[in-house]
């Protein structure tokens, strides 16, 4: 797996993602050609209505899909490296459960979109905060963090259940249920801005930190013998990954499997070195989510919740990858 091959993969991925981006702008209930969509972006195009549709509805939604894809994929790569385990994603730290509780609580109190977004972000960070606190007290060994994460997730899952149980079954409960299914239908410029900024900062951090992520895949004792203080570095990575996931969950609801499957595919293409893996996963994640969201809103007359779609496609993909991994290593284990 040479650096040259990694770069070649990126040269294939970036135009693919760009093409998907344009296609996503073009298709929908009112479909046009990608070229027409491209012209609309710059003030040209058929009509004012089409321009308004693309600029105010489809463009923010497609950008949101790209951001969510980048966030989930990049944080998935970082957490898998950190836990030295290719089978973890944001859920292992309780991010999703915390976010779900925050959003459910806001929805049950009839909060607006901004409140829901804020609360889910807040509780996602709080859930990981709890896990990190456990790790700080008892050690950051992967096992301790994973067990802490499972416990905190279960706690917040129970709290989500409680909120659903007491929520008004006619008005609030459906809203909570739909939110939990995940989707980007509510994407508007106003809710997108903070997320896009967070994506930009988080991605830059991980790109700058990418070589250090290689070092963090070493056991702590080995890292220490190389003069590294692993614990603060691990905490920084967990913090950055959490903010990325929380930001994306806060606008998209629960979208599973992207953070697990995309890193695998990217690793199979460009190798384990995070200097190539982070950019490849970022572009692949963006492309995957743009593609899936386009399918979600166009395949059937009514929209398919994105979280369901990523599950339906992600789980078979995950099983396939996992079984291949098992077969490749089967002889040794």
């Amino acid at each position: 797996m040479t650096a040259r091959r990694g770069r070649r993969v990126l040269w294939i991925l970036i135009p693919t993602a760009a093409a998907l981006f344009l296609v996503s702008l073009a298709v929908g209930r009112y479909g046009v050609s990608p070229i027409e969509a491209f012209r609309s972006l710059f003030g040209g195009g058929e009509s004012d209505i089409l321009r308004a549709l693309i600029l105010r509805v489809r463009l923010p939604r497609t950008i949101a899909a790209a951001c969510v894809g980048v966030n989930l994929a990049v944080s998935g790569v970082a957490l898998q490296g950190l836990f030295r385990n290719p089978l973890v994603d944001g859920r292992v730290l309780g991010v999703s459960s915390g976010a779900a509780f925050g959003a459910a609580l806001a929805l049950s109190l009839a909060g607006g979109a901004a409140v829901v977004q804020g609360m889910s972000f807040l509780f996602a960070v709080a859930a990981v905060g709890l896990v990190v606190w456990i790790g700080w007290r008892f050690g950051t060994a992967p096992l301790i963090l994973v067990v802490g994460g499972i416990a905190v997730s279960a706690l917040f899952d129970a709290l989500v259940g409680l909120v659903k149980y007491v929520a008004d079954p006619l008005s609030r409960l459906p809203a909570i249920t739909y939110w939990l299914l995940g989707g980007l239908g509510a994407s508007r410029w106003e809710t997108l801005l903070q997320v896009a900024v967070i994506t930009g900062i988080g991605l830059s951090f991980f790109l700058l930190f990418s070589w250090r992520l290689n070092l963090l895949t070493l056991p702590d004792a080995e890292a220490a013998s190389l003069g590294l203080h692993a614990r603060p570095m691990r905490m920084a990575v967990i913090g950055a990954a959490t903010v990325l996931i929380a930001a994306s969950v806060s606008i998209s609801g629960m979208i599973g499997w992207i953070g697990l499957v995309v890193p695998h595919v990217a690793r199979a293409w460009v190798g384990a070195d995070h200097r190539r893996l982070i950019p490849a996963a970022a572009v692949l994640g963006a492309a995957a989510l743009i593609g899936l969201d386009t399918i979600a809103r166009t395949a059937l007359p009514s929209e398919i919740p994105l979280g369901i779609l990523t599950g339906l496609i992600g789980i078979p993909a995950f099983l396939l990858l996992f079984l291949r991994l098992v077969r490749a290593r089967g002889a040794e284990r």
Binding site: R212, N214, S225, L226, G227, R267, A272, D273
Partner: protein, 262 residues
């Protein structure tokens, strides 16, 4: 560089020291073998020497200055650790694995550059693994992995390398190949501390031998002095004799017929 331990003790549990009052010193070009039964404190000694653990009493010093007074990075630029097992979770290439050794030379957000890659190639060439630089580390044989880990220590720029049972799990030829590389690097000026379960290897490759018995230095000195029937009996709880072959090579042979009760 001189690495020195003076009266080093270490206990994981209060009142139960696994290392007791161990002293040793190591100069450039020397190979020190540490022998002892399982649980005699060999690995703990290595961890104290590398600075990963701080002795509960006594000091380890590098060029006369206690290890604690050096920063972790300064320490890592001088002392390298070659682990017995290194099973990476991900399939890094050999070059990527060796490049990790450059960590103590690079800042927080720095990426390895041309000089670092050159150091990696030099290190791989030294251990004869340059041809494998783009192969996947996890697909290498045990002996090749050991060589790559030595190369990582060299890329690290470490003057002194601490090896935890490098020959474990290797067949005799690969054991001698690894230890031959160690001997060659020592001739070039690097120093090594090697823990081992093979007294024979110590006879062949060590300048000095430390025999640990329950965390204490039972004997310490040149192989011929430190490794006697007496010290080996104390170390392993069984009888050995040191025999001399026709070509003058010596070997440690267990005396099966008369195991001691100790």
């Amino acid at each position: 560089m001189r690495l020195e331990a003076t009266g080093v003790s270490y206990g994981y549990v209060r009142g139960k020291d696994v290392l007791r009052d161990v002293s040793l010193s190591l100069d450039d070009g020397e190979v020190l073998f540490v022998l002892g039964a399982n649980g005699s404190g060999k690995t703990t000694l290595l961890q104290c020497l590398s600075g990963v653990r701080h002795p509960t009493s006594g000091t380890v010093s590098m060029d006369g200055r206690p290890l604690l007074q050096w920063t972790a990075r300064e320490r890592a630029q001088r002392i390298g650790v070659i682990p017995q097992f290194h099973e990476p979770a991900f399939a890094f290439t050999v070059a990527e694995a060796v490049l990790l050794g450059r960590a103590p030379h690079l800042g927080l957000f720095a990426r390895p550059g041309v000089p670092d890659r050159a150091a990696v190639d030099r290190a791989l060439e030294t251990v004869g693994m340059l041809g494998a630089r783009d192969r996947t580390y996890t697909e290498l044989s045990g002996g090749e992995q050991q060589l790559v880990l030595i190369a990582r220590g060299l890329a690290q720029g470490a003057q002194c390398l601490l090896m935890d049972e490098p020959a474990a799990h290797l067949d005799p030829r690969h054991q001698h190949e690894i230890l031959g590389v160690v001997r060659g690097l020592a001739t070039g000026g690097r120093s090594f501390v090697v823990t081992s379960h093979q007294p024979d290897s110590a006879l062949h490759y060590a300048d000095r031998v430390l025999v640990l018995v329950e965390g204490r230095a039972h004997s310490y000195g040149q192989p011929g002095e430190a490794m006697t029937a007496d010290s080996l009996r104390a170390a392993y709880g069984m009888e050995f004799e040191i025999v001399r072959g026709e070509s003058g090579t010596r070997a440690v042979v267990p005396r099966i017929s008369g195991p001691s009760s100790g």
